[in-house]
Amino acid sequence: MLIFECPYCGVKAEETELHAGGEAHLTRHGAGASDDDLKSYLFMRKNPKGVHFERWQHANGCGKWFHAARCTMTLEVFGTYSAQTFEPPAELVKKIKKKRPDWEGWT
């Protein structure tokens, strides 16, 4: 069972308390965007084997969306952080790199 610490209310929530929201840090496009950009935003996903940055909602708790870094090969949760950012915090990236030396890093 996955356990995430909600960065807003501090609760250690297990997955039935949460709602998964898919890949984080997508570049958003709206009306007037090219077909390619719109397709990338709406459908194309990294779907990596390994480190994945993703969105979760503390649905049955404070209700807020937050970000998490998790390994799709082991289901290890590396950490959670606020949704009010365009990229993961530097310390978290460093921590993951230490655990996963082969990881290509945040891109």
């Binding site: 039935t16 077909d35 459908f43 194309m44 990294k46 990596p48 084997k49 994945h52 993703e54 799709t72």
Partner: protein, 415 residues
């Protein structure tokens, strides 16, 4: 290849079954093939088979990182139906269902296709309207389905509680010629036929890189050495994203876990397949007597081939209301597979940014039923380099053009 027949069974019975021999060869990989297929699941093997049978291309290798049929093909709950909503889906799933009817004869191996009928329960007003619409669409597509009453449901499945307190059964979409087949046998039958045509099925051979030059694939690196090829076909289901990464493109697809479970065996009491989309569960009884049960996927990206416990609980809870007898049964085994889910819940059968590389995936929770139809169409795409009518709508370009084949509303549950 030694033919399987009643005579052969009798002959082997008389000599202690010592004369059967291997069903397929275990060759060393050659340096070069005309076509290399990645993934010896049902789709990869069927593609190889129809490449040989329909197009005479037999210098083919099928590379498999584990054992053949050990991916989703050997983990699925074997529901075969073709009552989809959109025309392109109905066409390919119905083609596949038709090929299943004659598969045992065609491949000379009993795949235990059992057209026992599939019913999809309507448990809300919304579902009644949805299924009536599907039945209407199926009538135009030439797929025989009908919307049946709750009384008829009870007649077909006496052990069902149609007056459940939460979601009473209001009717069902019924496809009489749908059913199940033995999943392993489907993979084995294709493998045996491919090997017999001289194709090499190479197990424990993982593709680790895709070599290319000037926009064309030249070959692959594997754990058993480099292999060059004229054409590459990728059919790796939940690992599609990983192969695409090796080849240098991205896909509109994510990999998530889907689970299933089986009960202890009991006497025959359920001779159709029942799917309940609103409460997220489906059930059939195997020839051994076990209830084969499945439900919904997890929500998050996953490559571990195991899923979350609460989904098992949710699935069983959903079915207990409709089949009260389940509450006293023991569940014996539970497992997971990694399914490849696309944005419109329809598969991808497509050219790729690399000229001689083709991909077939995104069958998600429902690609066992399509194995022969998908292989038939994919073989044409690989052989000719162009789509035939069966696969034309399933290209990656549909995501650019907004030309979706939206089955997400039609197929509410994993199957």
């Amino acid at each position: 290849m030694r033919r399987y027949s009643a005579f052969a069974v009798a002959r082997e019975a008389l000599r202690y079954n010592k004369g059967w021999g291997r069903a397929w060869r275990a060759p060393q990989p050659k340096k070069h093939y005309d076509v290399v297929i990645v993934g010896a699941g049902g789709h990869g093997l069927a593609t190889a088979y129809y490449l040989g049978k329909n197009f005479g291309i037999t210098n083919v290798a099928i590379l498999e990182k584990g054992w053949l049929g050990g991916g989703n093909t050997g983990r699925n709950t074997t529901i075969i139906r073709s009552n989809y909503l959109q025309d392109p889906s109905a066409a390919i799933y119905e083609k596949a269902r038709g090929l299943y009817e004659t598969m045992s004869q065609d491949l000379n191996m009993n795949v235990m296709f059992s057209p026992r009928g599939v019913m999809m329960l309507a448990q809300t007003q919304h579902e009644i309207r949805g299924f009536q619409r599907t039945a209407q669409a199926n009538a135009f597509q030439g797929v025989k389905t009908e919307f049946i009453s709750a009384q008829r449901v009870k007649q077909l499945v006496p052990i069902m509680n149609v007056d459940g307190p939460r979601y009473p059964v209001l009717g069902a979409l019924w496809q009489e010629r749908a059913g199940t087949a033995r999943h392993d046998a489907v993979a084995w039958a294709y493998a045996r036929a491919c090997s017999d045509m001289g194709m090499d099925i190479i197990q424990k051979c993982e593709v680790t890189a895709v070599n290319q030059s000037g926009g064309q694939v030249t070959g692959v690196e594997t754990t058993r050495g480099a292999i060059s090829c004229k054409k590459l076909a990728i059919l790796v289901a939940g690992n599609s994203g990983d192969l695409a990464r090796m080849a240098g493109f991205r896909l509109p697809m994510e990999s998530v876990a889907l689970q299933a479970l089986v009960s202890e065996p009991i006497k025959p009491c359920l001779d159709v397949v029942v799917m309940a989309n609103t409460v997220h569960g489906y059930i059939s009884q195997s020839d051994k007597g076990e209830f084969v049960i499945g439900g919904g996927t997890d929500m998050y990206n996953n490559y571990t081939q195991r899923g979350s416990f609460h989904h098992i609980e949710e699935t069983v809870r959903a079915l207990v209301e409709t089949f009260p007898m389940i509450s006293r049964m023991k569940m014996m085994r539970q497992w997971g597979g990694i399914v490849d889910v696309t944005g419109d819940r329809s598969p991808i059968i497509s050219k790729t940014p690399l000229g001689n590389c083709f991909i077939n995936g995104g069958w998600g929770t429902g690609g066992f039923k399509s194995i022969p139809g998908s292989g038939w169409g994919m073989a044409e795409l690989v052989a000719k380099g162009e789509h035939g009518p069966l696969t034309a709508e399933f290209g990656l370009d549909r995501f650019n053009e907004g030309r979706f084949i939206d089955e997400s509303v039609a197929a509410g549950v994993a199957h």
